[in-house]
């Protein structure tokens, strides 16, 4: 379904999603009209979706980011649904992922400082339903974060 032109455009777009169509076309080596048409088609086919702004929470004073890995008590058939619904109600949870493996669910939790983190952890996280085990990884630094795919 994708040809080389699509792939060239996608490579550039994924490498730098903020580019406007003209600059994107130039980098992909196609005309602006072609680029625009291809993007329209890829969007219509559902290959590319929304362009979302990335918020840098540290700039808003959220200095702490913790990756919490949960094992759920899966003897209850509603464990995943109940847990996820509860997690969606915690404002400091900025992402939710589910897995196949030793970890069932991962939540990314942000906080202004360790004191606030402790409060969120005790009052909002430990109270989530069906938790069997929790492990925490505290973020020190993000070394690489790219949406690029080896197309």
């Amino acid at each position: 379904m994708l040809d080389d032109t699509d792939r060239r455009i996608l490579r550039q777009l994924l490498a730098e999603p903020s580019l406007g169509t003209a600059e994107l076309a130039a980098r992909a080596g196609v005309t602006a009209a072609t680029c625009w048409r291809r993007l329209e088609r890829l969007e219509a086919a559902g290959v590319i979706g929304a362009r979302a702004a990335v918020i840098d929470w540290r700039r808003l004073g959220y200095e702490v980011e913790v990756s919490l890995r949960f094992t759920l008590d899966k003897t209850d058939p509603r464990a995943f649904d109940d847990f996820l619904q509860g997690a969606r109600g915690v404002p400091e949870v900025v992402s939710i992922e589910t897995f196949l493996g030793r970890v069932d669910v991962r939540l990314t939790v942000i906080a202004r400082d360790m004191r606030q983190y402790q409060e969120i952890y005790r009052s909002r996280i430990l109270t989530l339903p069906h938790i069997a085990d929790i492990e925490a990884l505290m973020l020190v630094a993000t070394i690489k974060d790219e949406g690029a795919l080896p197309l």
């Binding site: 362009r51 979302a52 939710i96």
Partner: protein, 152 residues
């Protein structure tokens, strides 16, 4: 640190859902003139609060059916080994995310692959051969959801 008022928070929520919305459209939604909306967005960009964009892609449609998160523990530690490891791991095209963490593991990696066989190839040839790599734990991503965060 940047202080926000309710209008800024509403703008951030809107842009986190769709970054392509124009200042005019944002202004109409939140009762601002087009220039006033533009100035606010500009200020958030200059303060680094709006840090670029992310484009949502259907990875399966592009032939990348598998995303795996790896927890990696280094076998040997020291400043030099961290630098060697980071330099080598960031150069792997299938690795989208590298985070240095504290806890059970030293690094979290997000790896994309075409299928499980392709993932096995990346794991064996690229990851297990990284300098200093020790224990590795893999979890296959089933679903992911980004939340608006504390902007209420």
């Amino acid at each position: 640190m940047t202080d926000l008022d309710d209008t800024d928070r509403a703008l951030l929520r809107a842009l986190a859902a769709d970054a392509t919305e124009s200042a005019g459209a944002l202004g109409r939604r939140f009762g601002l003139s087009q220039p006033a909306a533009w100035r606010r967005v500009r200020r958030l960009e200059e303060a680094g609060v709006l840090a670029g964009r992310r484009v949502a892609v259907n990875r399966e449609a592009l032939g990348f059916g598998v995303t795996v998160f790896l927890g990696v523990k280094l076998a040997t530690k020291g400043r030099v080994s961290l630098e060697d490891f980071e330099q080598a791991v960031t150069a792997i095209p299938e690795v989208q995310l590298v985070q240095h963490v504290l806890g059970l593991f030293d690094y979290r990696l997000r790896v994309v692959a075409r299928d499980i066989a392709d993932f096995e190839r990346v794991l064996r040839r690229r990851i297990m051969t990284l300098p200093g790599v020790g224990q590795v734990e893999a979890n296959v991503l089933l679903s992911e959801e980004r939340r608006p965060g504390p902007l209420g």
